[in-house]
C-alpha cells in the first residue's frame, strides 16, 4: 500500500485553494478491518486526505523549499459516514502562511454534499523554535506527491 490518500487534483489555485478527490473502494485492505461486517472509511484517514491536499497547497506556496509537516488538527467534524463506492472531495483553503507555519480551512464533501470540516496547522520544520536540524533533502514532497500536480503547476522537489 502507498501512503497516498488522494487520487487526483480537480483544481489547484497556487497560494489560495485546492480541490482533490478520493474514490473509496472495497479493494482497499483497511476497509476490511474497519470493520469486517460494515466497512467504513476511517475519519482519521479522511483527515489524512485533507492534510495531503492542504499540505501540497502549503508546500507549493513556498515553491516546495520548506518541509511541511502536519502539526495540529484544529478542528475535525463529520456528520455522515463514508462507505465503499462513495467519492470524497477535499477542498482546502490557505488561511495564513508565515515563515514558520501555515493554517488551512478544509471542507469535506461526499458525492457532492458537505459532510465535514477539517481545519489544520502545518509547521515548516526547518524553522522550528527549538532549533532542531533535519536532513537537507525534502523528504516530505517526493515525486509521488508532485506528480499529482502535473498539468496544474510546475513542481520540482528541492
Amino acid at each position: 500500500m502507498r501512503w497516498i490518500w488522494i487520487d487526483r487534483f480537480l483544481e489547484f489555485k497556487p497560494g489560495h485553494s485546492a480541490k482533490a478527490i478520493k474514490n473509496v473502494s472495497l479493494a482497499e485492505e483497511h476497509l476490511h478491518d474497519h470493520w469486517e461486517d460494515f466497512p467504513v472509511m476511517p475519519t482519521s484517514l479522511i483527515c489524512e486526505g485533507m492534510a495531503q491536499t492542504a499540505g501540497i497547497l502549503v508546500g507549493q506556496a513556498r515553491d516546495f523549499k520548506e518541509k511541511v509537516v502536519l502539526a495540529k488538527i484544529s478542528k475535525a467534524e463529520f456528520s455522515e459516514l463514508v462507505l465503499p463506492g462513495d467519492q470524497l472531495t477535499y477542498h482546502a483553503e490557505l488561511q495564513t502562511i508565515t515563515p514558520q507555519a501555515a493554517s488551512t480551512h478544509g471542507t469535506v464533501y461526499r458525492n457532492g454534499q458537505i459532510i465535514g470540516t477539517v481545519d489544520l496547522m502545518f509547521s515548516h520544520v526547518d524553522q522550528n523554535m527549538a532549533g532542531l536540524k533535519f536532513p537537507k533533502e525534502n523528504f516530505v514532497f517526493t515525486g509521488q506527491f508532485l506528480r499529482l500536480l502535473a498539468g496544474f503547476v510546475e513542481a520540482r522537489a528541492q
Binding site: 495540529k72 495564513t96 509547521s123 527549538a130
Partner: protein, 129 residues
C-alpha cells in the same frame, strides 16, 4: 472608538477556547497558557494567527511570544537566561511580567510568563495604541 479591557478579554477568551479546546470558565486572566490551559508550541502560533484575524491586527514574529531566543548560546547558560538574555527578553516582550521570573531566570519556568492577561495587555496596546 477604543475597545474596553473587558471587550478585549472576551474576544481573547473566545480565541483561546477555539485554539486550545478549553472551557470558557478555565480562561481566567491569571491562567497560564501551558500549565493551566495545556498549550503546546504549535498552539502559540495558532493563537497568533487567530488573534490577527479576530482583532484585524498584524503580529510580527517574536512580538507577542519570544522567538529564537533560546537558540542563542549568548542568552542561555546552564538552563538559565544570562543577564544579556534577560535584557533581550524584556526588550522584545515588554508586556510580560518579569517580577518573579527575574529572581530565578530558569528557562523551564519561561512558559509560566505567558498568561491570559499577557495577551489581553498586548492586544490592548495594539488596538488602542
Amino acid at each position: 472608538m477604543p475597545m474596553t479591557q473587558d471587550e478585549i478579554f472576551q474576544k481573547v477568551k473566545e480565541t483561546l477556547v477555539e485554539a486550545l479546546g478549553v472551557d470558557e470558565e478555565e480562561v481566567t486572566p491569571q491562567a497560564t497558557l501551558t500549565s493551566d490551559l495545556g498549550a503546546e508550541s504549535i498552539d502559540f502560533l495558532d493563537i497568533v494567527f487567530r488573534l490577527e484575524k479576530s482583532f484585524n491586527i498584524k503580529i510580527p514574529p517574536g512580538d507577542l511570544f519570544p522567538d529564537n531566543l533560546l537558540n542563542n548560546p549568548e542568552y542561555v547558560v546552564n538552563g538559565k537566561l544570562t543577564p544579556a538574555g534577560l535584557a533581550k527578553l524584556k526588550e522584545s516582550t515588554p508586556h510580560l511580567d518579569f517580577s518573579n521570573f527575574e529572581k530565578d531566570p530558569d528557562v523551564s519556568k519561561m512558559p509560566e510568563l505567558f498568561k491570559v492577561e499577557t495577551i489581553v495587555k498586548y492586544v490592548s496596546k495594539k488596538v488602542n495604541g
